[in-house]
Amino acid sequence: MKNIFYFSGYKLMIKKILLIIFLILMQKFVIAETIYVSNEKDHNISVIDGNSLEVIKTIKVGHRPRGIILSKDKKKIIICTSDDNRITVVDVASLEVEYYLPSGPDPELMVMDEDGKFIYVANEDDNMVTVVDYHGRKIVKEIPVGVEPEGMALSPDGKILVNTSETTNMAHFINTETLEIEANVLVDARPRVAQYTKDGKFVWVSSEIGGTISIIDPVKYEIIKKIEFSIPGLSKESVQPVGIRLDNKRKLAYIALGPANRIAIVNMNTFEVEKYILTGQRVWNLMINSDGTKLFTTNGVSNDISVVDIDKRKVIKSIPVGRYPWGVAIKE
């Protein structure tokens, strides 16, 4: 009898331990983030585990994947597969390509509205911004813009879409109701990325060849400030701002400086550069993780991702991915 009691007690204990382990695992699983990186030359995306910071899977998605975002319900990864002239949708749970969306020719960057209904796509070769009905899986409208459209940003209220055109050197302000251009602001050469501040009062636009960040007042359509960068020992030409992420909590902006192989931390109140952080080579796009502790950068020449500890202001890890890593998206 004693033996049996002992045995069932032992069994219970194992059950309890298993439950605790399961709960710990679950908790970890819930907190764990996943990072998705598009590899332009390898035609795939790398899936990185947010805890171990290692690549756990590579998914073939189509030719020349660049812009990458998550759907608003966080259930799908949406990728511009530029050379296939369409958008590829990957399921987050199965990590498999699920279906394709039409995008117009050569889609590069895109933005989704807050309701998750429309995707606005920049068609680089076609001088168009295409509006795609995400659920209806069809093109709603094509808006003619400047030559080589690229950067895409939506105002917090969703009423204005900003698109930059690389060769026309403009930021176009598009009314999302009428889908007409309301104003154009001339910026420095080769504008790449646009970002609205959280309060919707300013738009930050990077000019890769001009080497500057223009801060635009979206009501007056005027540039109120231009940020320049100067890094000791580096020529002015090698400082080529591309990616912009605004950290509204800390009031800091992170700017990727391309072949300068650095990101700049800019104070959003004073517009002063507070620090340059060395990353991998040709750093282009950036993403802040969900709790705001880490910044992930895509480094196109060194074929890796730099993980920056935002508080310590330094790179804590480099993660090798595919060739020409281009865009990055993060799921909580």
Binding site: D106, N127, E148, T168, N169, A189, G211, S235, E237
Partner: protein
């Protein structure tokens, strides 16, 4: 009666149309293109490139007009071919009499000199897309001329930097006999001195017969007994442009020693090549291919960039006054995106566009100069070509 209504209708139409285009600024750019009688080329399979340069200008106009839609500007290209028996100067002066101000020139050196001698230049701006002559950037410079085409000194500096980087420093120079070959040869001698390379010997290629059948024998003897690491060809081709070489293709693989050959079309320093894909280059290549139905040549690229420089300067200065436009172009902050990874801009001391130079084989890109490690207090791009202290150009 019917006719009367028709006339009324016609008058009415005339009334509406001008009212609509009232505040649109019209800008006319003239592309002058010298047609040459085609010299016999080495291989008959090399097709003649049709509309070389003009297709680049056309795309530049298209790009300018996409921007113009938002700035109320309309650009128009006037294309003019100069036939073999026609005078470039007379044609240029005809345009000037009709007050055309902006010119893209793809002409011969002789044409260019004659155009520069015209009394009707006035305030017009001339963009050179094809001539590499150093003297046009030195003694014969003109403040109204901008050179998008790199100079001989820029391309030989680009090639020599690459050789220096590889540590291939002992050169044998084989030079052709035409004026352009000689300029390339004299430039590479200056470049070699500048970057610490040694030209062991120089040989002149003055054979006139067709080498198709005898190259195997002759070139072995021609290169025998020389102590060198790299064979450099000064072979700038048969025409005034960059369309093909005259002897360079016979040299590789037929030398006495197993040796690297550069220059000519073998490894050519140039402003553009269709295999160039970096820094958005593939966007440019695919846009051009789609629009023009052929690959983009360096003259197409130079012409495209020339039209874009006019467009950018006019958009930014908001002016059609050539004096203001020229000030805008020569401004230190004026730079243009040219798909070459670095902003390109004009040197104020001679009107030359500073730009990276591609080193290419007929089908592939090998390297881009300036090479890493060649530094300059102003910009690394100024390690290529005639620098400010060395200039013999005096604008008056």
């Amino acid at each position: 009666m019917k006719n009367f209504f028709f006339v009324l209708f016609f008058l009415f139409c005339n009334l509406i149309v001008p009212a609509k285009s009232e505040n649109i600024q019209q800008i006319k750019i003239v592309h002058i293109n010298r047609i040459i009688e085609r010299a016999p080329t080495i291989y008959s399979i090399n097709p003649e490139i049709k509309n070389n340069g003009i297709l680049g200008s056309r795309m530049g106009i298209k790009d300018n007009n996409t921007t113009g839609k938002f700035t109320n500007q309309k650009f128009e290209l006037i294309e003019k071919n100069i036939m073999p028996n026609e005078s470039a100067k007379a044609i240029f002066e005809e345009f000037r009499k009709n007050n055309y101000k902006f010119f893209i020139l793809n002409v011969s050196k002789d044409d260019f000199n004659k155009i520069l001698s015209s009394d009707l230049i006035g305030e017009s701006i001339l963009i050179n897309t094809s001539l590499k002559d150093n003297d046009l950037r030195n003694e014969k410079c003109n403040k109204q001329v901008l050179h998008i085409s790199p100079s001989y000194m820029m391309v030989t500096d680009a090639l020599t930097q690459f050789l220096k980087k590889k540590n291939w420093t002992k050169l044998l120079l084989i030079s052709g006999t035409n004026e352009r070959d000689k300029q390339f040869a004299s430039s590479i001698k200056i470049s070699a001195k500048k970057f610490g390379l040694k030209i062991i010997n120089e040989k002149i290629w003055d054979f006139t017969h067709d080498f198709r059948r005898t190259a195997d024998l002759e070139i072995v003897k021609f290169t025998q007994g020389e102590k060198y690491e790299v064979l450099v060809l000064a072979d700038e081709g048969n025409t005034f442009g960059d369309s093909g070489n005259s002897f360079g293709d016979y040299i590789p693989y037929r030398t006495w020693k197993p040796i690297i050959v550069v220059g000519g079309e073998v490894l050519k320093p140039t402003s553009w090549h269709f295999a160039h894909e970096q820094w958005g280059g593939n966007q440019m290549q695919s846009r051009f291919l789609k629009y023009s139905k052929r690959l983009m040549t360096n003259i197409d690229f130079n012409s495209w960039l020339g039209v874009r420089v006019f467009g950018e300067a006019i958009t930014r200065s908001k002016s059609l006054d050539p004096r203001r436009i020229l000030v805008q172009i020569m401004d230190e902050k004026f730079n243009v995106a040219a798909y070459k990874g670095k902003p390109v801009s004009f040197r104020k001391w001679n009107g030359q566009l500073r730009q990276p130079i591609l080193l290419v084989t007929p089908r592939a890109l090998v390297s881009v100069s300036p090479q890493n490690g060649f530094i300059h207090p102003r910009t690394e791009l100024d390690t290529l070509g005639i620098d400010e202290p060395d200039t013999k150009c005096k604008f008056n």
